[in-house]
Symmetry: D2
Subunit: 430 residues, 4 copies
């Protein structure tokens, strides 16, 4: 009976099935021989639920979709500075196969074009790895994103190696600028193996969901990369992922995305969902024709656009009332929903605007569904200031949404699970 979303996906696929426009990638026989009618779509939720329709378990090569994930691995393995020194983050406004190096330094403009991706491949894993180990690191890393062990399509790999002149040209150019410091052929070989990793639409959706889930694979629970890396990768996907169609995509779809010439297309919406589609025919930009249509539909139907302003929320401060009387009276501020900076600001404002007349003040977090770091710090600062002003402060936090609260210099707070506890003796935490 849980078929609302599968039904939706099936209907969406049905609507695009008749579109046979576009062309298969034809530069190697293996891609040219793909079944052009393949069609699949998968939603992977950040808690691990997966919905799919169509060809969601057919394997195909990951191709350029490997780029953001290998970028994540390089940032993770080497740190930001060494990677940024070699590869920029500016959109090129050009097609994927343009060389697009900075004219003075030879630094590739971004990691989504081939020049950037080949360089990024060379930065995956530790510096000590030999080329074979580095490819292993990449395949293992992509597997961690996907949550299963992925393998390389040796036939595609061999064929790509035979048609790698453009990538070899790029790599030699990078080598001439000392952006690459190894044999260009070795770097291209590794990059081609990376692109020949076999995935299914299901895998790709899970990989995207791992990005949407702050770097943690929703199924395996593995923290594949840290949050700052995820933020960097999603930002670069948003501005550079769709090459010269970046602006159209940003306005009409608004989901950080990446496509591959084998027909895959992924999108990751932070905190919500990873999406993948598979349909091999490509538009002139090199993106899956039906995939683009599906993403446009998903974005419109589901409100999945990073610039979608959420519907007017309830106030973060649900209520502001006094419980009890006389010296036992407590001013209670009941917060609710997901608290980010704007919500925390509101809480600060309401609690501090009119200095509470009561000696005792409680911040009730029972109905708070999430809270971010800055908001946690702001609420603790409120606690501290209230303490300094002579108040006795309680945090009603039955689920420890703020674990081990430390209001800092001069602040004191008593954590309780229920308001009732404040009306009777409770424990105190500094």
């Amino acid at each position: 009976m849980r078929s609302i979303i599968p039904d939706y996906l099936t209907e969406a696929l049905g609507d695009v099935e008749s579109d046979i426009s576009g062309e298969l990638a034809g530069y190697i026989p293996e891609l040219a021989a793909a079944d052009p009618e393949r069609l699949g779509a998968v939603f992977a939720m950040v808690d691990g639920a997966v919905y799919g329709a169509g060809d969601i378990d057919t394997e195909f090569t990951i191709q350029s979709i490997s780029k953001p994930f290998t970028y994540a691995l390089a940032l993770s393995d080497r740190g930001f500075d060494p990677v940024l020194a070699k590869v920029g983050v500016e959109p090129s406004g050009e097609a994927f196969n343009q060389i697009s190096l900075e004219s003075d330094t030879g630094r590739p403009l971004n990691p989504m074009i081939n020049a950037g991706a080949i360089t990024v491949h060379s930065l995956a894993g530790s510096e000590q790895l030999n080329p074979t180990e580095r490819v292993e690191r990449v395949v293992q890393g992509l597997s961690a994103f996907a949550g299963r062990a992925l393998t390389v399509d040796e036939a595609v790999c061999a064929s790509e190696l035979e048609h790698a002149h453009r990538n070899l040209a790029i790599a030699h150019m990078l080598r001439s600028h000392d952006i690459l410091t190894e044999d260009p052929r070795v770097a291209v070989d590794g990059y081609i193996r990376q692109c020949a990793v076999l995935v299914t639409a299901r895998d790709l959706a899970m990989m995207a969901a791992t990005l949407a889930n702050r770097g943690v694979n929703p199924r395996t629970g593995e923290q594949v990369v840290r949050e700052p890396v995820v933020r960097q990768v999603l930002s670069v996907m948003a501005t550079c992922g769709m090459y010269d169609a970046a602006g159209d995509w940003a306005t009409q779809v608004g989901i950080p995305a990446k496509s591959g010439v084998a027909g895959g297309l992924i999108g990751a919406l932070p905190g919500q969902i990873g999406i993948a589609t598979f349909s091999p025919r490509l538009d002139p930009h090199g993106h899956s024709v039906r995939g683009v249509t599906l993403f446009e539909r998903f974005s419109a139907d589901m409100g999945l656009h990073v610039m979608e302003v959420p519907a007017a929320a309830r106030a973060a401060v649900r209520s502001n009332h006094v419980v009890g009387k006389g010296p036992y009276a407590i001013r209670v501020f009941q917060l609710q929903g997901g608290i980010r900076f704007a919500g925390a600001e509101r809480a600060v404002r309401e609690t501090m605007d009119a200095a509470p007349a009561q000696a005792r003040v409680a911040l009730d977090l029972t109905m708070v569904s999430s809270i971010d770091d800055v908001s946690r710090r702001m609420l603790l600062e409120v606690v501290r200031r209230l303490t300094l002003d002579g108040h006795e402060v309680y945090l009603i936090d039955p689920d420890s949404i703020i674990p081990d609260p430390d209001p800092g210099d001069g602040g004191r707070v008593t954590v309780i699970g229920d308001l009732e506890e404040a009306l009777s003796p409770g424990r105190t935490v500094t």
Copy 2:
């Protein structure tokens, strides 16, 4: 006592004050004569609260910051298609004063470069307006965003007109491609008046907050433009607003933004906040030096980055339990927090996965802080399917977060304010 945020802003200004790098815009005497030490920053919350520090009420000319707002007005006044036919949405990867027209059509690449902005100015208001009326429409529209009546700096305007050769060049080029269909000088005159509108940092923050608040000015409550327009404008700001520094900004700051040569800089984070800074010295990209530093800090300190994945939230389904016994038993699904697609999906999954054994089912929305359109429709579909499966369905919604619920063909739902009502006779809504 509400000084946490003001204190923060004051500290932030203090930290950048010593940075006197950069140059005043010098192409007209009025800008070259600005006081380079001016420095201010304002936070405007989507509920109308405003925090500021420094020179927040000093007037200066809005310059290029008028571009996204006039783009919003044109989209609103003419509709999307006529505007998109004349001005693209692709980043140019070039400086603000590059002509950057599509080589075949002469269409400016995006509305943030001057060629696009001059064209957009010509599309503000209805087609019937004469040039004077069109400027009035623009000034009135900018005023609506700001929430107060803005005026034009006639001295700057006159001076800009004397130094308008580059813009006249652009306008004549646009005219030669029939992108502009009027006298180029008239279009440039109007555009220059638009850029010479006087604003304060406070105004700019409120204008940004209006974008962050789905087009509704938080103070006046006026719906200046509709939501799809806001989404389009924010998307274009995100990809094109910072010109050739777009990628650096997208990764390091991650707030859709726009700068002006008089020293203003704004950012709008959907659903949360409008930010403005003012400091006249500019970096080589034409952005306020201290403004950029302040935004980098705000983003880092406050978690204000569109790709910031919110901290792991509590489950959208807070609890799933049975109240009452025997035939009166009700299966209650208690939802919580802000419900968007991912949350609605979870709710659908839990309610429908295991078909409830109980004849009566209640969806408790009491603790839901917000819900978007797709989620509302998904929950109503759950209601419909439960009805079709023979259940009697209740919606516990004391604050009408889903007003007038209509589960559609075959569905029925009883809205109640409290679970108690379900245990006694209640009213029924189809």
Copy 3:
């Protein structure tokens, strides 16, 4: 009976007549209404002889063919430095209507593209001229090249002014870089009048012949511009005259050339000939289709290519013999042909290699058909050195091809009309 060349031209026109490919320039009605079948070709020799076939007296507007001539006028009126400071000499490799300014200075790349030509127009005549006088200077100057008073086609002029947005764009851009220092509209108006001057193919051939004839109109004998100006203009025509087809033209035709959108096409081969063709249909580069074919043929048939190496010439030293005996013996070096550096070098070598045994030496210039400046100086140096070595030197120069010879410090020479004079007492010139 002098019909060899007219017959040739008639035959050549007949061969291209059936080619109706290409399109009329259509940006103004006057050009679009031209008779596409018009066809004419003219050869103007540097001594004033003119051969023509077809429509050689039909008037049409000169358009871009005015560019090299106005460049000549500006160089002549202002001097090289002020003109080179404003307009470069580098080929742009782009079409005629590209802006092509140097990115740092805004200086147009060369005087053959519109940006350069508008700037050059502004540099014609003295700085004191008002715009009307400047146009008069240009029309008068073009007339001097043509050898008859030319007039402006007012209808074309008016129509061009209505469609001048691209040129106005260029002029405003030039003004913004201070390359133009006057009202851009005034400069464009003047430039448009310059382009609307009416000419015939006969006029154009004579204008080209004036360039080929070192700046002297072969018919009127007027020195319109000086030789260094001619050299500069021909060099720039050779590299920039045919825009993005420059290389094809340089290899296949090899005649410095310039075309106009009204169908004119000129070529000037230094020292030999001015050629003009007229046929209004244009190829995608904007050049007359049949005109290009005719020039290719003329070049191939007539050996008119600047890189054509002349057939192996006779030795510059025709004979080296002794006349007379004993103390009256004279060593005679008989020179012949056109003497340029290579010929003079040969003469120097033969005269000085083996120091003549005879006390008397004669250089016989009777059969020399031309001599350039460096060669004249080299021969006089030979005279001087022979004198210093104790020889008595005679110059046999009946037609004063070296007038008033001055061999310089220590040199002496006796000019005689005939060797006989040396055998009898002659006059001596220091």
Copy 4:
């Protein structure tokens, strides 16, 4: 005593000696270790005379100066069409190491940039040659131009191979477009050997003189390539040889030229001279600093500029008179100097304008120093027409400047060595 030109060269070198600006090419140790003070200049006349001063016998690597000569070999070995199909002739307006391929076909813009030169190398010799044989063909061809057996600097060659990443990048890019059809590394290896050929300034001047002398080495007399090839090569040198300084060079020097990073610089003025200079410090364009200065001086001092209009020549028709009386009267047209199209036209005009009254007509070529093909044909046509008009025609041509004259259908001519012969019985040639 023949020291006029050596003295001049010595003085010119002395004047530039103090200029130590510029930098040695530093991309390989061998070039970086060159003696920067080396300085030499050589003039090689088309008749084999050579003048030099300074370091004229020091060997250095030919580098890019090999490009025009290998282009000549490829055109010669394969024909024009196969070479033009692979490499264009348009100036790129870019530096030598830009890739500059046509965007659609991948065809290098011209043979003077590396992409073109690598492709040209692959087209030298017959298609059947293996890579080693092809390099041998190139070295042998360069040796034929120089007139002595040249060798390869193996140390430079090995070092260049280690630093060949940019050229390998270019070659792989060419391979990806099927412009190159062999292993890119093999093509680059061959090209590097070509560039590492050792030459002296004397060799280079002789190579240039071979171009100036219609493809015939002035010393060995070998016809290395045919005239159309020479014309093509000189044309391409004129427009593309000096890369992004092409326009400056064309106007200020006006000699088709080519430079190499080892410090060589050559120029060839058709029919006159080959020039070479050697000085290793390079300007930012990659041209020898002192070499450029020397060429500017040579051009100015010697009138060596292709657009230099020769000084006004004597009339091609020196005299037009009647010798003898009554039936024996002969109308004699005495021609003189170098006869090209313009001179022949004049001769045609004078001989045919006024139909000679005399039955006998003589064209006296005794004082003609040279005549080109078209002029020869025109004079013979005059002969034919005079014959048809009933005249008896004589050609006074003691040195057979028109060997075996054939006036064609209906024409008859009697060749005599002296006018006296016409006054007595002579031999007749049809």
